[in-house]
Symmetry: none
């Protein structure tokens, strides 16, 4: 199963609403189950450097089927996945990327959000992912 | 002046409507005046290879402030811009990318469309750009 | 629908059998519907440069859902897709890549073959793809 | 001496059997003595991000003729090979890559495995390498 554009747009709308609610500006990327970009939105005046980061977060979450921050815990110096970020053309392993599941619990894609603290990035990403039921 | 997300979403909506009208499936990218990605949409079942091409077309149009097809005329063997496609991480110089201007005629961004013949790609891109007045 | 490893291995076995039958040495790559590598085989003494080419052919065929040679007809100087090869991290647009369909006619992946003339590359790729029913 | 495709396929079969035995899903790559890819298998539903990592592990093991985890001990902050991962288009220096030797003890290639904990990745890689006598 792959996320549809209609679903991806709903995910982005939900993420934008959450970003507005918590008064922040985000870049929001949605990829499909094959890690291909489906939809993207850069909120006005959000960080330009986060355009790429949001896409890398979305891909990283789907690459390993877990929130990006979980990978970051293992990729620290001395950790079991130290410097995994050098793979796949560049990973981002701090919070802000989560997989998107459908009502059956199947992974259909992932969302990556970047533009603020990683805590806020994650909150907005989760709000986007949770909008798919 | 830079295109806003609201404007970019209107451009994508207009391009999607035109794509649906002419019965085709497109990838549609909008970049700002600084060539940074603002919004993107991959219509269900559109070519996966056109995700990258649509973004490269949008950037190419803004890089040189002209429709991508105009650059392609000059990048042919023997032409004055032969193989310019090697620059900027890869240009796409066939039709489907056009700049977006505001009501004052200022360039505020560009749209790139890919997914069908270059003639149809250009038609859909122009429809998107023309939606901004 | 995505190709399974079992199916991909059957595709490679069929391609290798065809390569042996026509007395040539090939590199054979199979990607899934999302263009991710599923299986690969480098026949002993086959060209080393074709390891990458076979993978790029498989991806190119799936990117545009057509045999790679069809794209190459359009990407020539003066053609409508001139220099499309600069996209997607590098395309290969001469023959040797074809999509793989299941019994229902759904595209589930693609095969790319490289190691000999493009005619032979295509013959071997087609034999691989045809092994899936 | 270089690993043959027949040997590489035996290595992958042994690695797959070990992965199945310990109930995990792996990506398995085999490179030759020149670090060129010889064979690859992505088990159904294994992590997509590990397709690249398994290949990088195989290359890294052969680049330095030691298990990848040994290099990772030296590439930590303050270590003698700090950030060596930046070389060769990206190394992976945590466990899961080991060299493959023939009966005479000559290095004929390497295997890289990725898809689970690095401990399990290494177990599966070693099982693959040990299948060559």
């Amino acid at each position: 199963m792959n996320i549809s554009l209609k679903q991806a747009e709903a995910v982005i709308a939900a993420a934008k609403a959450k970003a507005t609610e918590i008064k922040t500006l985000m870049n929001i990327a949605v990829v499909d189950a094959g890690t291909n970009l489906v939809a993207f939105a850069h909120m006005d005046d959000a960080w330009l450097g986060s355009i790429d980061i949001s896409q890398k977060k979305a891909r990283t979450a789907r690459y390993f089927n877990m929130p990006t921050g979980e990978i970051g815990k293992l990729s620290q110096p001395g950790g079991s996945l130290y410097n995994i970020e050098h793979s796949n053309g560049g990973l981002i392993t701090f919070p802000g990327g989560v997989v998107i599941k459908n009502a059956k619990g199947e992974i259909i894609g992932a969302i990556g959000v970047s533009g603020d603290t990683v805590e806020n990035d994650h909150i907005v990403a989760q709000a986007g992912a949770d909008s798919i039921k």
